[in-house]
Symmetry: C2
Subunit: 219 residues, 2 copies
Amino acid sequence: MKKRGGQSIQTRSNGDQTREKIISAAEKLFGQHSFDAVSLRDITNAAEVTLALASYHFGTKENLFTEVIARRAHVLNNVRRERLAALVDRGGMTVEALIDTFMRPLFEQMQSDDDGWQAYVMLLAQLASNDRWLGHLRTYYDETANLFIAQLKLLLPNVPEENLVRGFSFVLMLMLQTVSKNRRVDTLSLGKFKGDDLDVSYQLLLRFSLAGLKALETA
Amino acid sequence: MKKRGGQSIQTRSNGDQTREKIISAAEKLFGQHSFDAVSLRDITNAAEVTLALASYHFGTKENLFTEVIARRAHVLNNVRRERLAALVDRGGMTVEALIDTFMRPLFEQMQSDDDGWQAYVMLLAQLASNDRWLGHLRTYYDETANLFIAQLKLLLPNVPEENLVRGFSFVLMLMLQTVSKNRRVDTLSLGKFKGDDLDVSYQLLLRFSLAGLKALETA
DNA sequence: TCGTTATTTATACAGTCAACCAATTAAGGT
DNA sequence: ACCTTAATTGGTTGACTGTATAAATAACGA
């Protein structure tokens, strides 16, 4: 047992630290590869713990995956809801302010020093392209998303509700594609542009999304 | 050996039929699940052939996957290029006509009786959300896509080239999301809308995309 | 100090996996 | 009829999979 400064670092709460280490390693690997392409051994090796600890803390591989999704979903949803409430309170609501309030928290996290978010958004992009984990998106993201849709409905009364929902899911998809390190842009442009300047990308995404949404008016 | 009407049905070219059967089964399964979630046994069982035939015809699982991607990519690219050439010939080029020429062939195939396309587009949507198969998209799709981008550049001279490439990749992503049976819309709208009326979806997609692209003008 | 509990370890198990190979069948060309 | 080649079969192999379990270790409360 390792000691540091004469004080034990093997505390009773070490289990929580181990949990977080495993989740972080899993997040990184699940973001880079698919659920099935990553083995529990890959994860526990990366986390520098033994295999059986994954079973001990999470039971099954699916449970671990779920915890990975949930961890940052709660962070994101809390920020979004707080800012939405603040925006409603101070008045002056516009479509641009609403969409910005929804998307900006994710971009801020992407530019923070916590690089775990980069793996996480790649994981989200995978989830969105496959019905397998649809239930997870529903559980962890739809409630907050629907709050924003309700506001959007007030701002764009001339857009039929169905169009509006569709449009919002368009925006969702574009946001994920933009924020994830998707390298498809590079190849399309013959490598001339890098596609990783998030500030520039964000402005374009916002302009594209707003114009698109407003174009859904009329039946 | 089976006979039918006194004539042998076990011809020398049976190998090609077997190849197609395996590719079609693989396409369906790869579209529904990820590459790693599908085993060669799943595929050969679905195709009603023995396991070893997959190795014989394709060598490796990756090769089979590549052939699945390539088969319909060629079909799609040919239609797109023919129609683009026709559009250029007869003049009257607009952004709407150009984007429609690019997207419509895929929607037509989706509504045809060949239901293999539905699995194929789900596969494409997966490819686009993961860098693992980026090389395949490059090989089979970028050349044609760049033809359309070149035309778009002429039509929108006030949109910086970088914005234009980004915008086109936005459109690509939205097209795939729309055409694949993505059920995310359902849950967002509490199951009120079905999201599988392709004609309606296509009109919305087109409107959203055109407005988005045009909003990318000015530096 | 002793018993309880949480955490960690090493190992085992029952399957599935992709790939490979030798033997067999059938068809085509001559 | 004969030989060559394509196509197909069943079976094996060794690696890897997720999960389970018994034993070891360490911390806490009494």
